[in-house]
Amino acid sequence: MVIFAILAALTVAGGLAAVMLRNTVHCALAVAVAFAGLALLFLRLNAQFAGFAQILVYVGAVAILVVFAILLTRNSETPATGVFSKTWLAGLVIAAAVFAVLAWAVIKSQAALPQEQTEPQISVAQIGNALMGRYVLPLEIVAVLLTAAMIGAVIVAMHEKGSAK
C-alpha cells in the first residue's frame, strides 16, 4: 500500500507539473515522469508487457516527439500575457466537475465493484497467442492505422513546394 501511495503521488505530481509549469520543456520532462510513474503502476498491477510497452512507446518515443516539436516551434520563451488562456477559470471548473463526478461514481459503487484478489500469472507467450488468435483483426487494423498516421504526419509536416521556408 505504501508503494502504491508513492507511485500515485509521483504520477499525480508529474501530471500537475506538466500542466502548471511556465517553461514548456520543463512541462514535457514532467509529463515523461508522469508516464514513467504510470508504467510503474502498470507493473504493480502485474501487467508487465503493458508496463514495458508504455515505457518504450511513451517515454522513448512520444516524449521525444513532444520535445522535438517544442524545439521546432520556439518563437519566444513565455508569452507576455501569461501562459494560461483567457478562459482558464472555465476550464478549471469543468475539470473539477469531471473529477467530482468520477470520484462520486467510484466511491458510491464500492459494493458493486469486482473484488478478485488473486494475481493473474500471464506469460508473454499467452499474450502472443492472443494477439495472433483472438485479436488478430485489431492487430492488422492498428498496423494499417499506424502506416496511415505515419504517411499523414510526413505529408502534413513536409515543406510544401514553392512556399517560403
Binding site: 503502476l41 498491477l45 501562459v83 502534413v156
Partner: protein, 103 residues
C-alpha cells in the same frame, strides 16, 4: 476502500489534471500533452479493471490498453505534425491568437 477503487481514483485524478491542462493552456503542444495524460489515465483504468476483474485470463483489458498505447502514439505524431505545420504558416503556437475562423 478496495485497491481497485484506489486505482480508479488515481486514474480519475490524472484524467482531470489532463483535462484541466488541455482546457487552460495557451500553447498548442501543452494541449496535446494534456490529451496524452487523459489517454494514459484511461489506460490505467483498463488495466486496473483487467487485474481485479472476473476473468483476467481472457486478456481483454491488457489487449485494449496495448492497442490504446499504439493508437495514442499515432495520434500524438499526427497532432504534432499539425502543430508544426500551423507554426510554419502563422509563426505562432498560441491558441488565443489562432482565431481566423472565429465568428
Amino acid at each position: 476502500m478496495s485497491p481497485l477503487s484506489c486505482y480508479l481514483l488515481v486514474a480519475a485524478l490524472v484524467f482531470a489534471i489532463g483535462l484541466a491542462g488541455a482546457l487552460t493552456r495557451r500553447n498548442a503542444i501543452l494541449v496535446l500533452i494534456g490529451i496524452e495524460l487523459m489517454l494514459n489515465a484511461a489506460n490505467l483504468n483498463l488495466i486496473a479493471f483487467w487485474r481485479y476483474g472476473p476473468n483476467p485470463a481472457a486478456l481483454t483489458g491488457l489487449m485494449f490498453a496495448v492497442f490504446s498505447i499504439a493508437v495514442a502514439a499515432a495520434e500524438a505524431a499526427v497532432g504534432l505534425g499539425l502543430v508544426i505545420s500551423i507554426y510554419r504558416h502563422l509563426r505562432t503556437t498560441d491558441l488565443d491568437e489562432i482565431s481566423r475562423m472565429k465568428g
